[in-house]
Amino acid sequence: MFSTGSKYFFGLSVLGAISFAVYMLLIGESAIGATALFGLVAAAGLLTALVLFTRDGDAGEEGIAASTAAPTQSMWPLIGVIGATLLLVGTITSAVITLLGVVVLLAAIIEWTVLSWSERASSDAAFNASLRKRLLNPIEFPVLAAVGLGVVIFSFSRITLAVDKSVGASAFIAVGALVLAAGVLFSLRPNVKRGIVIGVCVVGAVAIVAAGIAGLGVGVREELVLAKEEGHYTHQECGAEESEHFDKLPLEGISATASVVATITLAEGKLVASVQGIAGEQNSITIPRSNPSNIVFHNATEGEYRLVANLGKKMVTDGVNEDVVQCTQLIPQDAEQLLTLTIPKPAMAGAPYTLTIPGLAGQSIEVIVP
């Protein structure tokens, strides 16, 4: 199937690609080195395609017979042109479009090359088609499935960002239930016509993609726009609230909220700590210095409260010190918020680090940094 020359150049291409990857990983970006190695990959790849196409210039009787057959129609030149256009447009607009152009162009080159090569494999068109399928289907099917799923997921994400949070959750549950129901139905009725299965899947996917496009047109819901403008995912002012729109449930990432060293609870006017691995309520927590430590503040008291971490003082100019504090936002009853503390040094004698609630006298949790 593969001629001697094509194996050589293919090997050279792979070697060049590995060298390019290793070079980029170990040595880092370098205009000269990276360009040279990428040039090698591109040149060797082109030669591979040419040698495959010409079968090392050894036509043979079969080849001569095959070459006399007219090539079938192909959409790949058109797709290749689209890819090249995207690549050019991307160079002056966005890196994402460039990348898309590269992917489309590469796909078109590979598909077109293999198609042309397979059409000259023999004078039997059916055999040639099976040869192409044998080579490309193991790549085409997973790639197309991934792209298709990606498009559906991306479309669905546009829907959930556009509609109200609870509507988005309901839509997610509804779509999930429909997919499950369809799956169960198809498995219980194995004799159902193939066309019906394909039709249902296509209609479902098209509906989601269409709704996604509509969502893209509508844009994200207003509260998210305002939240982004206010930067509420990052600010934690200790003074007057600067934000009207913020999520009063634990913020930050799931991994952070899933791994907390302590939960500080304000219950019935009393501040207590529960520490992972230690039984019972605590009035102090120990955290290692210079290490980000996640603390969750849970407000179990009526009214809005915030937790304040009092972390000593720092010198701002000669002789002038200012308090180092970190706060959660004001959170209502039964809400929680995360506070990540990174304390580089132990507290000075007589001035311990504490967690307190403004306006609540006599309640504090000591933060010990050994």
């Binding site: 691995g277 230690i278 102090s284 290692p288 210079s290 290490n291 580089p344």
Partner: protein
């Protein structure tokens, strides 16, 4: 040729077999010294036996088939496809074996994850390439102030200790084979690991998650003391700092320490001449933001992430080979001038990166904003080293 191959195989097998007879193997996973490690041992031995028997049966079957039915020019035998009875049997038997193993494995896993019976808590923080231990206040053990140490984890024997593990930089893994299985220390997470030692003694371990250049040098030792000896150890750790007497070499060493070492290393209670406390700033100099706290350094037997011994060979052997009754007293005597491993300690002070690779080359710190990953070469003079050694010996 055939004789040579047979001879080589026999030699290799004998070598592997004899390797199992090593006596000086402190990290032997087959010698549990505490109830948690014993639980693992109780599981792994029968599983190993079952797996071994199956392995031998499969190997013998394959070798027999390969030899007996090798191509000798005979005609290809009748090819049959499918044998439901055999296939079902060969599916059910492994499934049953795995189910039984699974039941006992799950039971052991849940037993080892239990924390409700914890008697003592120690926070363990890993960083490249050493372990820090801090003991929160626990009045029942006499720990009235937090204790911080490194290299050697000191625990009371016969006590259920819960380690709360985390990491300051990359993923590490804490493993004292004689006391329990391994447990990762992951940045941003607290993982719980229970250990308990039956008897007083030293139990060696090593970081078991590749964590960078000196991963192989990230060792640890758990020191189990009797409850009485542990109380003495705690009392010693809580002793206030005593500055060396004036006009001594150690006092000059304290000045060198304040000028050089305190940039990263804390000695609790140390004060400057004007009475202000000396606070180390490893967060400004080291990537992990921490360096070992050297308070009571000479109460430990190791330094530099337990890579090197503070005790010389004779004294170390004396402690390691001591019986349970005399071990505590020997360990608590700490490091005297006679027992100090002068060679390694001076070598370390002279040029630490030469003894333990630590990305400490100042020319290669651009990616870390000028911060070191370990102790750099401080360029100390021999005179400074002399003074520092004298000072460090006072940190008992």
């Amino acid at each position: 040729m055939r004789r040579r191959i047979v001879g080589a195989c026999a030699g290799l097998t004998t070598t592997l077999f004899l390797a199992g007879c090593a006596t000086n193997a402190p990290q032997d996973t087959w010698q549990p010294k505490g109830p948690n490690a014993q639980k693992i041992d109780n599981l792994q031995k029968p599983v190993f036996a079952v797996a071994g028997i199956i392995g031998v049966i499969v190997t013998v079957a394959i070798i027999t088939a390969v030899i007996k039915f090798r191509d000798k020019g005979q005609p290809i035998p009748h090819q049959s496809h499918g044998n439901p009875a055999l296939e079902i049997t060969l599916t059910i038997i492994p499934a049953l074996i795995l189910t039984v193993v699974g039941v006992f494995t799950f039971r052991t896993v849940f037993d080892l994850a239990k924390t409700s019976d914890t008697e003592m808590i120690i926070n363990v923080t890993g960083q490249q390439w050493w372990w820090e231990y801090d003991y929160p206040v626990q009045n029942e053990f006499g720990i009235t102030q937090p204790i911080i140490t490194s290299g050697q984890l000191v625990i009371p024997a016969g006590t259920k200790v819960l380690l709360r593990q985390t990491s300051r930089d990359v993923i590490h893994s804490y493993w004292i084979p004689a006391l329990n299985g391994k447990r990762d220390a992951v940045p941003g997470r607290v993982h719980l690991n229970r250990i308990e030692a039956d008897k007083p003694g030293i139990y060696a371990g090593q970081c078991t998650e590749f964590c960078g250049l000196s991963h192989a040098n990230m060792r640890m030792e758990a020191v189990a003391l009797s409850k009485e000896d542990f109380a003495k150890w705690v009392a010693n750790q809580l002793k206030p700092y005593a500055s060396p007497a004036e006009n001594t070499l150690a006092k000059e060493g304290e000045t060198v320490f304040m000028n050089q070492c305190v940039r990263c290393h804390q000695v609790n209670g140390m004060k400057r001449a004007d009475g202000t406390p000396v606070i180390a700033a490893p967060d400004e100099n080291v990537v992990s933001g921490a360096a070992p706290n050297l308070s009571h350094l000479m109460s430990r037997n190791t330094f530099a992430g337990a890579t090197f011994d503070l005790l010389n060979k004779t004294c170390r052997e004396d402690v390691w080979t001591a019986g349970s009754e005399s071990f505590g007293a020997k360990y608590l005597s700490g490091v005297s001038e006679d027992c100090l491993n002068q060679s390694d300690l001076r070598g370390w002070l002279r040029n630490a990166p030469a003894m333990k690779p630590m990305y400490a080359n100042p020319a290669l710190l651009a990616s870390t904003g000028g911060k070191y990953r370990g102790m750099p070469n401080l360029g100390l003079t021999e005179s400074d080293i002399e003074k520092l050694v004298a000072y460090l010996l006072t940190l008992k």
